[in-house]
């Protein structure tokens, strides 16, 4: 019984992190129709920035804030200077570009920060809560993870639905030509979209790192799981990304606990293929995939 509870709680916490990452991917897809495979190393880089600050003695929260800020900046820079030339053109080129960035960021991190495994602190404690005489596998940090991701999601929903800026961003994503005609500065909106997405990605990077070991490859698995979660929910749907993330986290946790953690990536692949072949648009798709 305890094992089931542990499995479910671990899956929930991890699922929220995948949801955050999937959300980042969905934001970029909606804005520029590109899957940003480099999102994982970007998040890894910003986490290292936080680690440098924490090493130098500053508080965790300062590191946290700076990581999110640098995510914002990094996303904006990447969109404006690297991705802009290939937007709207061949799909393959865009994918290869983000993969090239993946390799570059990976190597940069190893060069600048070193490849050693470093431990990363987590606020709010790492002991599970005591209920009676059993311990549940939910730590203070786990609760923080769930709340942080939820807060970010609510913030984004408010931004997109409730503000003028959000409206302009949605317009730019929906139809660039018409938006331009209506006076929306489309370029800036796209940059902002990437920046926000990178911010969310950085958050997921920090949440995964907390209480664990950080090294240049630590986010590599997440790019796959985040992608699967995004596809599961539908690449066009932010709500889908979150639900997809949680579902994926739970399923993978169950596989890990009851079958074997080595088969988790294979389980993710199976889930992905099942979704792509049966319901290519994802669970919450609004746009049908074209069929030839």
């Amino acid at each position: 019984m305890q094992q089931l509870l542990t499995t479910v709680l671990t899956g929930l916490t991890l699922g929220m992190v995948y949801a955050a990452f999937a959300l980042a991917l969905v934001l970029i897809w909606r804005a520029t129709r590109i899957v940003n495979f480099a999102q994982a190393p970007m998040a890894m880089l910003t986490t290292y920035v936080a680690l440098v600050l924490i090493d130098a003695g500053y508080s965790y929260w300062l590191g946290f804030a700076v990581a999110l800020l640098s995510g914002l900046v990094l996303g904006a820079l990447v969109e404006r200077f690297v991705v802009r030339p290939v937007e709207g053109k061949s799909e393959i080129n865009a994918v290869i570009l983000t993969l090239g960035l993946f390799i570059v960021f990976h190597a940069l991190a190893a060069l600048v920060f070193g490849s050693r495994f470093r431990s990363f602190p987590a606020p709010f404690g790492l002991r599970g809560f005591q209920v009676g005489d059993t311990t549940i596998a939910l730590t203070g940090f786990g609760v923080f993870t769930i709340l942080a991701v939820a807060a970010v999601m609510v913030g984004l929903v408010l931004l997109f639905r409730g503000t003028d800026l959000g409206l302009r961003m949605r317009a730019s994503a929906f139809n660039q030509e018409v938006s331009r005609l209506l006076g929306v500065k489309v370029g800036r909106m796209l940059t902002l979209g990437w920046a926000l997405a990178a911010l969310v990605g950085s958050l997921s990077g920090l949440l995964i790192a907390g209480g664990g070991l950080v090294h240049p490859s630590y986010m590599d698995g997440v790019v796959v799981y985040g992608f699967v979660a995004a596809v599961l929910g539908g690449l066009d749907s932010p709500v889908g990304a979150v639900i997809g993330g949680v579902l994926l986290g739970l399923s993978l946790s169950i596989v890990s606990g009851y079958v074997g953690s080595e088969l988790v990536p294979l389980a993710a692949l199976v889930i992905l293929m099942a979704v792509l072949l049966l319901r290519p648009g994802g669970l919450f798709a609004s746009v049908r995939e074209r069929r030839v």
């Binding site: 590109i34 899957v35 495979f37 690297v82 030339p85 290939v86 061949s90 799909e91 393959i92 080129n93 994918v95 290869i96 570009l97 993969l99 090239g100 960035l101 993946f102 390799i103 570059v104 960021f105 990976h106 190597a107 940069l108 190893a110 060069l111 070193g114 490849s115 490859s217 590599d220 698995g221 790019v223 796959v224 992608f227 699967v228 596809v231 074997g260 080595e262 088969l263 988790v264 990536p265 294979l266 993710a268 692949l269 992905l272 293929m273 792509l276 072949l277 290519p280 030839v292």
Partner: protein, 343 residues
């Protein structure tokens, strides 16, 4: 020269192959054992890159999972060579590895045939991460994290003597592997080049360029795509088998995500769809790390940091190539030649 180009395709390719064989012998016999080992690495990278460039360049399917397919070839080779006195000749082992990977590639190809662009990329990415987990789960038969050791069978005595007769030097295992690898490159490239120029190749390009038009013209999209995938998987399997023999090990750590990404960047650098480009990319993968590490050490970096310069360069050049010269190095060269001819 124009008479050479006017020859029937197959004959031209065979002549090139013969010339290449002579060059290979001359180069391998006159370089050190360490260089031979690097050339062997270049050979298997070239085979894998050749298959991938045909798949992505000619047929437009972007696969991030070819590292995983190499793993299939490598593990098959390792399993077939587990018995110390295995009766199977080495060439047969490699052929079997290729065939097994062909079959796996067919399965993957069928699943992937309906996917496009980023979906295909993501699915093959998931494949690349999933396959190394399988030997970890079945660790009794597949060796787990420490992998399966690959003991290379002894070189047949008649071959050793024959090579000594022709070249004056004995045949070390390293050099033997290099020969085997380059023979593989020549055979595979002749086959791929012929395929590319044939009706099959044209079909692949048609599917890449305009699906609707191709289907209207009566081409079975699914079959064309699966065939391209199968051919490139076979190449990856052969390359994986050679990799296992060279590193004497088949372990999950040798087939991490970075392998698939590096293969892709090598192919992009050389030029999508160009076999010459695949050779260029393979040369970079095999030789650049050592050069760059030495350079980095001179700059005062530690060994470990200097080793990261090579991937940094691949990544940067990949990004630059996509932004500035989507046809890659070989394509750029071709354009240069045409431009010079034009003026």
């Amino acid at each position: 020269m124009s008479r050479f180009l006017a020859m029937p395709t197959t004959r031209r390719h065979l002549l090139l192959a013969l010339g290449a064989l002579v060059v290979v012998v001359l180069v391998l016999e006159n370089t050190s054992q360490f260089r031979n080992a690097q050339f062997a690495a270049m050979a298997y990278y070239a085979i894998a890159a050749g298959g991938l460039t045909i798949l992505t360049g000619l047929n437009g399917q972007l696969s991030l999972g070819h590292g995983a397919l190499m793993a299939v070839g490598a593990y098959t080779t390792a399993l077939l060579l587990q018995e110390p006195d295995s009766a199977l000749p080495l060439v047969l082992v490699l052929v079997l590895a290729t065939v097994v990977t062909l079959v796996v590639g067919a399965l993957v190809g069928v699943a992937a045939a309906r996917l496009h662009g980023p979906y295909l990329a993501g699915a093959t990415l998931a494949l690349a991460v999933a396959i190394p987990g399988i030997p970890l789960y079945f660790s009794e038969t597949l060796g787990g994290d420490q992998g399966l050791r690959v003991r290379m069978p002894d070189i047949p005595v008649w071959l050793d003597d024959a090579v000594y007769f022709v070249t004056g030097q004995g045949l070390t295992p390293t050099r033997f592997l290099a020969y085997l690898g380059w023979l593989g490159v020549i055979v595979v490239f002749v086959l791929l080049a012929n395929l590319a120029r044939s009706r099959v190749g044209r079909t692949w390009q048609a599917v890449r360029d305009d699906e609707v038009a191709a289907e209207l013209a009566g081409i079975d999209l699914g079959r064309a795509r699966v065939l391209a995938f199968v051919v490139s998987s076979g190449c990856a399997g052969l390359a994986g088998g050679l990799l296992a023999l060279s590193t004497r090990l088949a372990a999950p750590s040798g087939f991490a995500l970075t392998l698939s990404l590096l293969l892709l960047s090598a192919v992009v650098l050389g030029g999508l769809g160009s076999l010459t480009g695949a050779l260029v990319g393979a040369a970079l993968l095999a030789f650049l790390p050592q050069v760059v590490t030495g350079f980095g050490a001179d700059l005062g970096l530690t060994d470990v940091q200097a080793a990261e310069i090579a991937p940094l360069i691949y990544g940067l050049v990949t990004v630059l190539v996509v932004l500035l010269a989507p046809a890659g190095l070989a394509g750029g060269l071709r354009k240069l030649i045409h431009w010079r001819r034009g003026t």
